[in-house]
Symmetry: C2
Subunit: 109 residues, 2 copies
């Protein structure tokens, strides 16, 4: 039971929420997402991101299109679907309520 594992566990499920938010703001591909997450100090590795994106795609929450790159292999650019937008709203509520509950418990004394 160490802090770094706790961090991983606390973040579970949150990543899906964050990724969906990032995609909801406009077309992006994997490296863009990793950059933005890293900038916000939420580290994520490729082996986590790609399966997650496939899950979102399978659930019809996002879609993608191949785009040729000017330097290097083609990229998958993701965008959010209407279904994804709706789901994101429920995630917003879930997160908000979770923060509220935690606040309530951890600020008591």
């Amino acid at each position: 039971m160490n802090a770094s594992n706790t961090q991983i566990q606390m973040r579970k499920g949150l990543l899906e929420f964050c990724i969906l938010h990032i995609i909801s703001r406009g077309e992006v591909y994997a490296s863009d997402m990793i950059d933005e997450l890293t900038e916000a100090k939420m580290i994520v590795v490729e082996g986590t991101l790609y399966p997650l994106l496939n899950r979102l795609k399978t659930a019809s929450l996002v879609s993608y299109k191949w785009v040729e790159s000017e330097s290097g292999p083609p990229r998958k650019y993701y965008s959010i679907t209407n279904e994804g937008k709706e789901f994101l709203l429920t995630l917003d509520q879930t997160w908000e309520s979770l923060v509220k509950s935690t606040q309530l418990i951890t600020s008591k004394r």
Copy 2:
């Protein structure tokens, strides 16, 4: 991919944090914890709580003592150890930083 599962996933690891906080405020036994969590709208079932308490005990973050009940079987009353207090401080930071990161990502537009 449904909202109730997302809630479960988002909460992973958070429970450990909340339970440790509850125990840190004074001696409690399982039902007390469930009551407090339920009051804060953070539902948890026994099958989740007991293994978690055993993990915390194994990691020396909490200790317990048996206490006779006035009505019913004896109870395990938990209290936090010094090691647990230290760990709780790092969890506070982990949680705070996680909230900050999520805020940063989800409030952008």
